[in-house]
């Protein structure tokens, strides 16, 4: 038995599929001819364009701004000419407004050199992080500067860096922890300074021993930053914010509350790297490390691409897809979205694109619930998925709050284990939508 930390209840063990890409160093993909930069990349208000058609922009120029509400600016990923405003395909919203940028590869990229950031005040740091367009790029897309400025009545004492990366297939964080461990640790120190605390844990699942070693080596502790690497048991959804906090600190974030309610702030390791880039290099967030994987892509890879790069261009760069392709998923296999087009642009929150074969997926039709109770055992939140599903099927989604429908963060463990193949997460999504009305 292992003594590694984990959350006590629920979770599943999907078959490991990280071996396709975990050994592949991050490579930079050549900039394609055209980028489609979606205006709404984060939770909150989408950006309003600050450029017009035919404008020339340089790499890192602001091209979109949020004037009202929660949000961060958007930057040009590369020099070029604004071709116009468009509608891009979007994995969740079908289409979304975007800026179309004709890239100009003649203009060389700006050089970013590290500068000392220690003299900056908390407000200056937050301003830089906001100005660089940093959001949680682990998936949620929550503006980073807001997380770094927690409500005053909840004193924060611990920073947790999420390096769990529990979704099968995805290795983008793994490779960044391996190749950019010093930048991540420096980013952690920046975050600790903005929060005014010294205690940081980096949670990494035990299936990435090389990343654990690299981060441990980089995490030299000083009086103003005690950074500990905490290996965690391999169990999905170890990287879920609430489960990660429980695994490492034993604290439970109450339903409907933020992690700061229990004195914790969580950032993804790749967000932390982006914060380092923003503060130490002055480089805005307009690139993204992605895992392109699955049995149906000719060449799996960990790619650094410009935000706005279309999946089509990535597929072409990696030598196309195999005839066995059955499903394309933006994001991980547990929480990602199946898409029907290659014309989708990469956003700041895209962590992977998977090209899956029939053998890797499972689209068997579902049958009636046999009350095996496996969904209850698998749910880390103690939600009664089977009851919610039965109520939704019976046309009574409004009665599902009692079964914990609003605690669900849609990790998919219940659907994963269901022997009747019932789309329990989807029933819960429907219940949430209908119950809110």
């Amino acid at each position: 038995m292992t003594s590694l930390l984990t959350f006590p209840k629920g979770g599943v063990h999907p078959p490991a599929a990280k071996g396709l890409t975990s050994h592949l160093a991050i490579e930079t993909m050549p900039v394609p001819d055209e980028l489609e930069i979606i205006l709404g990349q984060h939770i909150g208000a989408p950006c309003t364009p600050t450029v017009n058609a035919k404008d020339e922009v340089k790499e890192g120029d602001v091209i979109g701004e949020v004037t009202k509400g929660l949000g961060v600016p958007l930057h040009a990923p590369i020099a070029g000419t604004i071709k116009g405003m468009g509608q891009s395909a979007h994995p969740m919203r079908v289409t979304a407004p975007s800026i179309i940028l004709q890239t100009n590869k003649e203009i060389s990229a700006p050089r970013y050199t590290p500068k000392d950031w220690h003299s900056q005040t908390k407000d200056e740091l937050l301003k830089r992080i906001h100005g660089a367009g940093i959001i949680g790029i682990g998936g949620a897309g929550f503006p980073a500067h807001v997380k770094l400025n927690p409500p005053k009545d909840n004193p924060v004492d611990t920073l947790i860096l999420n390096g769990a990366e529990c979704e099968p297939y995805i290795t983008a964080d793994h490779r960044q922890m391996l190749e950019q461990s010093h930048e991540i640790v420096e980013g952690a120190k920046i975050i600790l300074k903005t929060l005014g605390i010294t205690n940081c844990h980096i949670g990494i699942e035990d299936n990435k021993p090389d990343a654990i070693a690299a981060m441990t080596a980089a995490a030299g502790s000083t009086p103003d930053a005690r950074i500990t690497v905490t290996p965690l048991q391999v169990k999905y959804p170890q990287g879920s914010e609430k489960q990660l906090i429980q695994s490492i600190t034993g604290r439970k974030v109450p339903a409907g509350a933020l992690p700061s309610a229990v004195g914790v702030v969580v950032h993804n390791v790749s967000t932390t790297k982006a914060i380092y880039d923003a503060v130490a290099l002055g480089k805005p967030l307009y690139e993204k490390v992605l895992t392109i994987s699955g049995q149906a892509i000719n060449r799996p890879a960990n790619l650094r691409v410009k935000v706005g790069t279309k999946v089509k261009d990535i597929v072409e760069y990696l030598g196309g897809v195999k005839p066995s392709l059955a499903k394309i998923v933006m994001g991980g296999p547990m929480m990602g979205f199946a898409v029907s087009t290659l014309d989708l642009p990469v956003t700041k929150t895209t962590s992977s694109v998977l090209f899956l074969t029939e053998e890797e997926i499972d689209t068997r039709p579902h049958s009636q619930c046999i009350r095996c109770g496996w969904c209850l055992e698998a749910c880390p939140m103690g939600i009664e998925a089977k009851e919610i599903a039965i109520h939704v099927e019976a046309g009574r989604p409004q009665d599902t709050a009692q079964f914990g429908v609003f605690d669900c963060f849609e990790c998919g463990c219940c659907s994963y284990v269901c022997p009747a193949k019932r789309p329990l997460v989807q029933f819960i999504r429907l219940a949430k939508m209908k119950a809110k009305r």
Partner: protein, 342 residues
Amino acid sequence: MPASTQRLLKVSVSPHVRSRESVERIMWTVVACLVPPLILSVFIFGIQTLIITAVSVISCVTVEALSQKALGRRITIHDGSAVITGILIAFVIPPGVSYLMPVLGAVMAIYIGKHLLGGIGFNIFNPALLARAFLLATFPVAMTSAWLPPLKDMAIFSYLATPIDAVVTATPLAVLKTQGLAAFTEHFGAIPNLYTTFFLGWRPGCIGETSGLLIVLGGLYLLYRGYITWHIPVSVLTTIALGTWCFGGETLFSGDPLLAILSGGALLGAFFMANDYVTCPVNRTAQLVYGVGIGLFTVLIRLKGGYPEGICYAILLMNPVSSVLDSWFKPKRFAPPLGGGQ
């Protein structure tokens, strides 16, 4: 994608990978676990147990297909659940009954007990036990006078040639109930030997309930595969053992707990009937309470009721309580919202 390779992509909701387990796999594994006791029953009671079981399985599958066709539902006879019901119906009837019994049982179990209530997952009562209760109530003589003594010398075809009336015997629980312990030991042998012969299955009883060993092995395999948990079998058997020890003897605390578990259908009920997914509670704590309830009713019926055996009715009595128990014992939520609410 180039037009030449253009095909339709699948687009469905997350998660996109799912566990390999399926209803079919669970059901057919249970069927596999029921095969060894079935084979042994041929050696204990003769080849007609196999014929009864075959009649029962074929009737159940046919009734399932006809019911689904009649009710306009997808035909799911390949999922194995009707096969299990068929085997279990045969397992809980005496080995000397006429072949009409399992056919009637199948109609009761599958059409009335299962499909009229909504099909798999919606039946309140365990279909096989419903069939047994129905047969016992409507054909009491046929269902209580067809017990056969175990065969000697492996003559598995012997009962086929003999009229059943010539060989009928009484079950251990019936002897114990009506004639007492002295007659019981005279009939079936001294206690220490009894444990072994009963555990191996060499005693009169229903077709599938006699071989404790093979039933326990099948149950342990299901436990190993994670298809069942220990909660219901352990609580049922512990309660039967404790209840019998307390009240099953001439005086308090003089009953024989081991004999109580080895005789009748206690083991089959605890491992293959009481923990039927559809009709038992899903919450672990609720399952413990449910199991204790079954154990108590079993002891009560065996000692004070009108039948020598009680587990069938005990399970049927607790079946409808499942959903109540589930609403009493809800899973523990991760963390309540601040300041109560919801």
